[in-house]
Symmetry: C2
Subunit: 304 residues, 2 copies
């Protein structure tokens, strides 16, 4: 019989294949470049990078399956005990060329902890997806959120509102006066089975969300990728990408943990945008579309 | 009689004026824009930013003079005790337009700690200057290091080698396989008076280094600012500026402390380059000038 870790590992690789082939077909120009890597301490990953496409300026769809001894650093990060660990996940970021198309990030992962006799003593699921528009289209925000709301609902009505809030609370540039990175989505972590919900329940929940990535994002790309944009709008995209860099390098737990625990730097930092600007005290004009975006980033909305 | 903090405060403001007027004259196009700000907890600063110049793409020359209660966060950062603190300093970063001109950073600061009766119970000087070339010119590296070596020497022959090594050890992107940000310079901190050297000795030492900034950097700008460069070379500059962003946001103690202690974000992040690129697994061609730079960044050299 297949173990949970085997099933999840198989799922993320299949999802990686599906997402990459769908994005390649939609882009119509660039193909993903694959790097397979090994981790000295145990395990490895498959990094797939795309760049200079028709609609994708830079993107990465990575999987990794790693295992090893629980170091003091891992212990501190996870706030839990254990002798050895297993972790696998898929992580993706797509930075489109056209500033009318939002950047997207998604991540679905599974974790197990073992005692000295290799018994599983703890396990949990984590993941989420969030959208970072440069020019806000309400229709896109509603579509993205609705897709994940629909993906969550069969597993509990309370899940989408809870994970939507966790997403709004997590992706925040606190050093920028509590400015969110984007318009959110869902974010969950430490989801453990209990007397009410089995491992299988959360496995199906994870897969329901993973399967929703393409339907949540692709229609937005198709709608916006051929819209006209000006140099000024591209400039604004690069300014906002600067904020994306700030969040990922200053606040993102996954990025900081990965770099500090001697993860594969190039695979971790594939999330950074192709090009970013850092202007002093950039402030959008009152009433502009740029200012409207900032207002929503400062005051997260209920989209559905 | 003037106190040490008064003398240092006066010095950094005068140095700020000198550096700004000299850089403006050398640039010949852009002028510094000034923002004066107050800190709720006590003190404030003068931020001066220049952008889109003939030779300077973006730069900042900032001073700040702040005081307040020693919070647990300050205590942890400083690894010392005290009831109240005073800190003042000048901090500057110049990002030139031409990739043949190096980026430069310098910082000179003074710190006092007080007990509950406002007695000074500890004080120290800190500072340094470091150069980040995109295309290495040995002549420039030698000139920059020699200038600070000459500035240090009257105050002790051991100082330049010690502070040169501290600089090489500090400005390192450890997550990039121990790659230095640039070709170094000097870096010192917690320089306290003792039975051998008085406060006045270290005050003159600080000023000798501060006064050396313009002579260390301006001749390099003058020599290189009109050199021809290609789009490919500008692209490489932006890749390297990506590494500058990574160092400042992931590793720089001053930046992280400033942001975490509710400092003025815009003044702190003026250090970020105007534009940066983040390519996946960018690797210079063997034997190229780009690769030669990387070799030196991986193996810091003795320049004088």
């Amino acid at each position: 019989m297949e173990t949970v870790r085997e099933e999840f590992t198989q799922y993320i690789h299949q999802l990686q294949d599906n997402i990459c082939s769908t994005l390649e077909a939609a882009d119509g120009k660039s193909k993903f470049h694959e790097d397979r890597w090994q981790r000295t301490e145990g395990g490895g990953g498959i990094t797939r990078i795309i760049s200079s496409g028709n609609s994708i300026e830079k993107g990465g769809v990575n999987t990794s399956t790693v295992h090893g001894t629980v170091t003091p650093q891992i212990k501190q990060q996870l706030k839990t005990e254990g002798h050895r660990f297993f972790a696998c996940g898929i992580s993706l970021v797509i930075h489109p060329l056209n500033p009318m198309v939002p950047t997207v990030h998604a991540n679905f992962r599974y974790f197990e902890l073992y005692d000295e006799k290799e018994n599983v003593i703890d396990l949990w699921f984590g993941g989420g997806a969030d959208l970072t528009p440069y020019y806000l289209q309400e229709e896109d925000a509603i579509h993205f959120h609705s897709t994940f709301k629909n993906a969550c609902e069969p597993f509990g009505n309370e899940l989408y509102p809870r994970f939507k809030k966790q997403c709004d609370d997590y992706f925040v540039n606190v050093h920028r006066g509590h400015e969110c990175r984007g318009i959110g989505g869902i974010f969950y972590d430490y989801i453990r089975p209990d007397q009410k919900n089995t491992i299988d329940h959360w496995m199906r929940f994870s897969q329901s969300n993973g399967d929703s990535f393409i339907p949540s994002y692709l229609p937005i790309v198709e709608r916006r990728k051929d819209l006209h944009y000006t140099e000024k709008e591209k400039y604004w995209q690069e300014i906002r990408r600067g904020r994306y860099v700030e969040f990922n390098l200053l606040h993102d737990r996954g990025t900081l943990f990965g770099l500090k625990s001697n993860g594969r730097t190039e695979s971790i930092l594939m999330s950074l945008p192709p090009r970013a600007r850092f202007d002093y005290a950039d402030t959008p004009l009152p009433g502009s579309r740029e200012e409207k975006l900032i207002q929503v980033l400062r005051n997260p909305k209920q989209w559905c």
